[in-house]
Point group: C2
Chain length 340, copies 2
């Protein structure tokens, strides 16, 4: 099962609040219509071929030939975007799966580098190295005044989106998130849930990212993002202290029950499982639960495509897929936590 996890994710040292970071660069080829206007399979194939020639450390994954399930797994691993599952062509992925170059996403190229416990500037440097290799071969659409040209105007300029995932259960439960969200928007940043569609995102996991790509250098954007990230982390820590000071029993009860339910349940939706994993991670970070578990890994392992892979391997008889996935998710968690 662990084999489906990205190697880079297995190597990181997990932090209390800050999860993984990502740099994404949008690039396009001069003279070639943007993907949504491009009806020329040969051109895309040719572009992919040129990339293959220069990106020798990356494997060419023909996503367009994959079945739905395998694509979904790549989405859950953040190696491709949901949009890419529909019209994407290929993705060039490196060995530890921390880097990918998507061909024919919203833009011709989307260069993406992920990491955790690594300064955002370093991730950016890694992305730039890929960008430099590609630029030697390809003729980018670039305007002296505006910078990189992109399919959507919101990416014009640097074409960069820097984002960091944050685990914010205390702020989230405290309804302080929306205040943050409003303030961040004024600075050109966004804080959004990355899983789930309700008011509270699955696992209380939020993504902080820049929304502006014009008028600032990449370095300035990253500095600003780091600064805002640190402020949010400090605030989350404050609220956690308040929780344990004012509601010690309630807090211990909540995180410990979540542990018990993950360990013993026989059916769990991804929504419920993520909530309990979030509580257990909170309990671990606050020193309430003396256990060792890797939140980021587990949050991936309970995602539907991961669980379906496990179901396939086990070759079980299945009547209802949805039910089977919820049951297999619970089985996975029981197994990992030593439940019955």
């Amino acid at each position: 099962m662990n084999n489906y996890l990205s190697p880079w994710l297995k190597d990181i040292e997990e932090q209390p609040i800050e999860m993984s970071s990502r740099i994404r660069l949008a690039r396009n080829i001069k003279g070639l219509p943007f993907p949504h206007q491009l009806n020329d399979p040969d051109a895309v194939e040719s572009l992919s071929g040129e990339i293959e020639e220069v990106l020798t450390g990356h494997h060419n994954i023909p996503v367009n030939e994959m079945n739905f399930e395998d694509k979904a797994l790549l989405v859950e691993k953040h190696l491709i975007s949901p949009l890419f599952t529909k019209n994407g062509y290929s993705s060039f992925i490196n060995k530890d799966e921390s880097e990918s170059v998507m061909v024919n996403e919203e833009d011709h190229l989307r260069i993406q580098v992920m990491g955790a416990g690594v300064p955002m500037h370093d991730l950016y440097e890694k992305a730039v190295r890929i960008d430099d290799v590609l630029e030697e071969k390809l003729n980018y659409a670039f305007d002296e005044r505006y910078g990189f040209l992109t399919a959507c105007p919101t990416n014009v300029g640097t074409g960069m989106r820097a984002s960091v995932m944050l685990h914010l259960p205390a702020l989230s439960l405290n309804n302080k998130i929306s205040r943050f969200q409003n303030n961040l928007n004024r600075f050109g940043f966004a804080l959004r849930g990355i899983y789930g569609e309700g008011s509270v995102p699955l696992g209380h996991i939020y993504q902080l990212s820049n929304q502006l790509t014009l008028g600032q250098t990449e370095e300035e954007i990253i500095d600003h993002l780091d600064e805002l990230k640190n402020r949010i982390i400090e605030e989350e820590q404050e609220v956690r202290k308040d929780l344990i000071t004012h509601y010690p029993v309630k807090t211990k009860d909540t995180v410990s029950r979540s542990y018990g339910i993950l360990k013993y349940a026989y059916t769990l939706t991804s929504k419920e499982a993520a909530m309990h994993l979030s509580n257990v991670k909170l309990g671990m970070d606050m020193g309430i639960l003396k256990i060792d578990f890797r939140f980021q890994e587990w949050v991936q392992l309970i995602q539907p495509a991961f669980v379906k892979k496990r179901l396939n391997e086990l070759n079980k008889e299945i009547s209802s897929l949805e039910k089977a996935v919820d049951e297999e998710r619970a089985a996975l968690l029981r197994e990992r936590l030593g439940g019955m």
Copy 2:
């Protein structure tokens, strides 16, 4: 903590559905007004003295001199009735606490014998032996035509109430209980929850007892009770089979989650604790949970007076008694189940 449990309860072999049984005989002294009309402390004291002379195997417990908490503990152990905590005088209790003779309850004497895994007829024989000893010394109010005379007309005749506690989670959850209750009433029997006041009694524990004391011998009443008990047990077993056949995952999930919550919660009301204990007992009886626990003991241990005794022993600092009891109840269960 176990020291507060009645020794007889610790020795029984617990069954899947049938819990403990009880025989109670109501007796009164000829010429003495019934307790609710008796304003003569000397007469009650004298009666208690006469009993003490003949019941040499029983300890005279001066319940009227006890504090509220100790009385509550005796009620939870079923050694005295709630009514008895108000106006009762003394109770004669044998060594294993399976027998008690209450002086000045609703009637002058209430002889009570409890047991589990013992035929009801044998319990009745034990009660009769106490009754015989007392009758040699005391002059009972007895009418040739009606039988024993009692303060409340519903006890006139045999003065006997035979009852058995049954754990009926499946029937209870299936809403079949009310149908049973109506049918039983027509036969002069009642099936009632013994803990809690809602529509579903705490721990799904019901008491089946005779309501009629006239026109039938004690043996006939007991035979009839046994027959009805067996029918209810069979029905409960049927519904349990249906549960595991039609809802195997839901059933396993429910009982296993309850186990996890009991093992890891930091605060539990008696209502919630009883519900989870009931689910765990059901899971154990159905072979879902491979654990060993004594339902009847644990249901007593989580009762408020039991938990308060434990709090007293621990000598903890307490701000809110209710909260402290709920927390101590959870601590007790975590401790017993090896939770964190």
